[in-house]
């Protein structure tokens, strides 16, 4: 028996290098699959719930597909949900509830709405169709059905503004500092380097209170700039870029100087284009940081609903309407969608970029 097994699973080769799919591979792939399920299932579940109708969400319907109960307009009665009544012989009739749900519920058939008769509750099944509940998305986005509080365009604009402007400023000033630290010898270079290392060691959460004082005295408290500027200079970015710029040969700069280029022009015509790989890693990191920022925007922007970023808006929305899960989940999906798309598009680049720089 085991001989046959060996024969079947064996390919040429010895134990170390054999290509066969052994127990080790099985365990490894099972582990990976299990891990990926844990990662993906909650996200996927959120998505699948977000396209379910309100009633299904409120009833915690655990079926995967979005089932909605059929409703029809019954003459003289109005919109009513449709139920399937199964009698003792197994015949199914479409009915609607003509009275409150009791152990014996009054129902009437759709064809003959006036003829009311009582049936046991457990013989009634909702008549359902698969329907994607686009209203979960459209109501808040288009401010319909009383969903005026989720000001999606404003939040999106604020988030994009903060992300793009902060990233551009970060790239520019970090690259400038990195250029100075990597390509010039000057008095105080070590001091500056140590100062930047020092900022790496100061976590943002321990200077919250006094940073609030500083930002307030600069008059940018409550505005998007109050979120953008304090976070623009990142020690991580300076080091990442400095490390990369050190690999650019000095001869290139010398050659440009022989061509009478000014130092600033050397910076943006030669050094910046050559540092593009490191710059793009930093750009992606910066986009993730700024897009997902929570605590500092919460402090700076919370008082002005028009300055809320997407994250804040979503928090407020979830806090105010914590029963309207169908809207909350839909807006959660809307919020995670951009970053997911970016990730799917650039995943190889992001993972290798972060792995090689090894920083966050």
């Amino acid at each position: 028996m085991s001989r046959i097994g060996t024969f079947l699973t064996r390919t040429k080769g010895n134990r170390d290098t054999a290509d066969r799919f052994g127990m080790q591979d099985f365990l490894a792939y099972s582990y990976l699959l299990f891990g990926v399920l844990i990662v993906l299932v909650p996200v996927a579940w959120t998505f699948f719930t977000s396209i379910k109708p309100e009633r299904a969400v409120d009833n915690f319907d655990t079926r995967l597909l979005p089932y909605a109960q059929v409703e029809t307009d019954i003459p003289g009665v109005g919109e009513k949900p449709v139920w399937i009544y199964t009698d003792e012989t197994g015949t199914e009739t479409l009915v609607y509830k003509a009275g409150p749900t009791r152990s014996v519920t009054d129902v009437a058939t759709l064809d003959n709405p006036d003829e009311v008769f009582g049936v046991p509750r457990d013989t009634l099944e909702p008549q359902e169709v698969v329907r994607i509940a686009t209203e979960n998305y459209l109501d808040p986005l288009l401010k319909r059905n009383g969903q005026e509080n989720f000001n999606f365009p404003t939040y999106l604009y604020n988030s994009v503004f903060v992300t793009v402007v902060a990233t551009l400023i970060t790239l520019l000033i970090n690259a400038m500092a990195a250029f100075a630290l990597s390509k010039y010898r000057f008095r105080g270079r070590l001091t500056f380097t140590i100062l930047i290392v020092a900022t790496l060691l100061i976590p943002s959460s321990i200077i919250l209170v006094s940073l609030f004082f500083v930002v307030w005295s600069f008059g940018i408290f409550g505005s998007l700039w109050g979120v953008i500027i304090p976070a623009a200079a990142t020690p991580t970015g300076v080091f990442l870029l400095r490390q990369y710029m050190l690999t650019i040969p000095d001869e290139l700069l010398e050659a440009a100087r022989m061509d009478a280029a000014s130092e600033w022009r050397i910076f943006w015509r030669i050094v910046l284009p050559l540092s593009l790989p490191a710059l793009s890693v930093l750009a992606i990191l910066s986009v993730i940081w700024r897009w997902n920022d929570f605590l500092w925007p919460l402090i700076v922007l919370i008082s002005d609903p028009n300055a809320h970023t997407l994250q804040l808006g979503l928090t407020q929305f979830a806090g105010e309407f914590n029963t309207d899960f169908h809207y909350i989940l839909a807006m959660t999906v809307v919020t995670l969608l951009p970053i997911t798309l970016v990730f799917v598009w650039l995943q190889r680049f992001i993972t290798t970029g972060i792995a090689t720089t090894g920083l966050k």
């Binding site: 040429k12 080769g13 010895n14 134990r15 290098t17 054999a18």
Partner: protein, 369 residues
């Protein structure tokens, strides 16, 4: 089937990585105590072949026999071989002593014996002063010795060397070459050594295996390869400066070269107007400054090394010629000199680049200088 025990025997070894065939059916026997060098240009499959022998890779087909025992299914750790890697692959976080004893600890050898073996090997390689250092604190040559030491302590059936000298500077390389040769003489183990450097091959090997494109081009003792290259590739690969190749036509036993030289050659099978290539080693060409000889060439460049003079010259038809003379010669660029050829030292390669056989009586290329 032979009943003789070979240290190693390869039978019809093939190896492909995906769709790419790297080794195309190699047969080879290596005897007990031999020092065999695999040599060839990069990408010829010599390192792959070594890794197949080591058990680090599996052949796609074919058998590997160690002392007449088929070892295809034996993992690397149980083949009883040891290997010196190109990068040395010393464990960076262990001291030299730990590096040497690691493999012995793995097979649960008693501590006392491990220590004895490590000390012996260290003494043999003169690294006994370095035993408590880490690889990072050693020079290139010292690391090389440690790597060899790690191979020695396991007392393997066969030593495998994968281009072990390629990371050393020229002087150290020369020194280590001699030491490895001495080591072989002392230990008497079978050794297989991979290199792309034909000088290493010529100086160290008992037998050279020339590989190209995953095939064996020729196997033989160093001087056999030098004196009787089986084909144009081996002729060009072995020997520095490279052998000269001149195009010509073989008609009967008369060789007419494109550059104008006509010569009688004692080929075993007369030609019928085939296009052939004449190979002649730089040191087998005579020079006369007054311009007399089989033909005249123009000196384009020359190198005076004192004991040896290299002349780089060209025929009128543009074919170039390298000449080596074991004396000092006064020369000028553009100067016309006469060259003389001795058909005894000719190698003639047919259209398929295989060397043509000479009739026995005149095959006396052995012993050339």
């Amino acid at each position: 089937m032979t009943d003789q025990t070979h240290a190693l025997e390869l039978r019809q070894i093939r190896k492909s990585f995906g769709a790419v065939d790297v080794i195309h059916g190699i047969d080879l026997q290596i005897e007990e105590g031999e020092f065999v060098v695999f040599v060839g240009p990069s990408g010829c499959g010599k390192s792959t072949l070594l890794r197949l022998i080591a058990g680090l890779d599996d052949p796609t087909s074919g058998d590997i026999l160690l002392q007449n025992r088929r070892v295809n299914n034996v993992p690397a750790s149980e083949r009883g071989l040891s290997m010196v890697f190109q990068s040395y692959a010393l464990y960076p976080h262990m001291s030299v002593r730990a590096n040497l004893s690691f493999g012995l600890e793995n097979i649960n050898m008693p501590r006392a014996e491990i220590n004895a073996r490590v000390d012996d090997a260290a003494k043999l390689l003169q690294i006994d002063q370095l035993l408590d250092r880490r690889p990072g604190q050693l020079s290139g040559g010292q690391r090389q010795r440690v790597a060899i030491g790690r191979a020695i302590v396991r007392e393997p059936i066969i030593f495998l060397f994968d281009e072990p000298l390629s990371n050393l500077d020229a002087e150290l390389r020369l020194q280590m070459r001699v030491e490895i040769s001495n080591l072989h003489a002392q230990l008497g183990n079978t050794m297989i050594y991979v290199t792309h450097d034909q000088v290493e091959a010529m100086t160290m090997a008992d037998r050279i295996v020339v590989l190209r494109g995953g095939r064996i081009e020729q196997v033989g003792r160093p001087l056999d390869l030098y004196n009787h290259p089986a084909n144009k590739f081996v002729a060009g690969f072995i020997g520095a400066p490279q052998m000269n190749f001149l195009n010509g036509v073989l008609d009967g036993q008369t060789l007419r070269l494109d550059c104008g030289v006509v010569s009688d050659v004692p080929v075993a099978r007369p030609g019928t107007g085939d296009k052939v290539t004449l190979g002649v080693r730089p040191e087998a060409i005579g020079v006369s400054l007054d311009g007399h000889g089989d033909d005249q060439v123009t000196v384009q460049n020359y190198e005076q090394l004192g004991a040896i003079t290299y002349i780089y010259a060209a025929f009128d038809n543009g074919e170039t010629l390298t000449v080596q003379q074991a004396r000092q010669i006064p020369l000028q660029r553009g100067q016309k000199i006469g060259v003389t050829f001795d058909p005894t030292y000719f190698h003639i390669f047919g259209p398929d680049e295989v060397a043509l056989e000479f009739s026995h009586a005149s095959d006396t290329k052995d012993g050339l200088r």
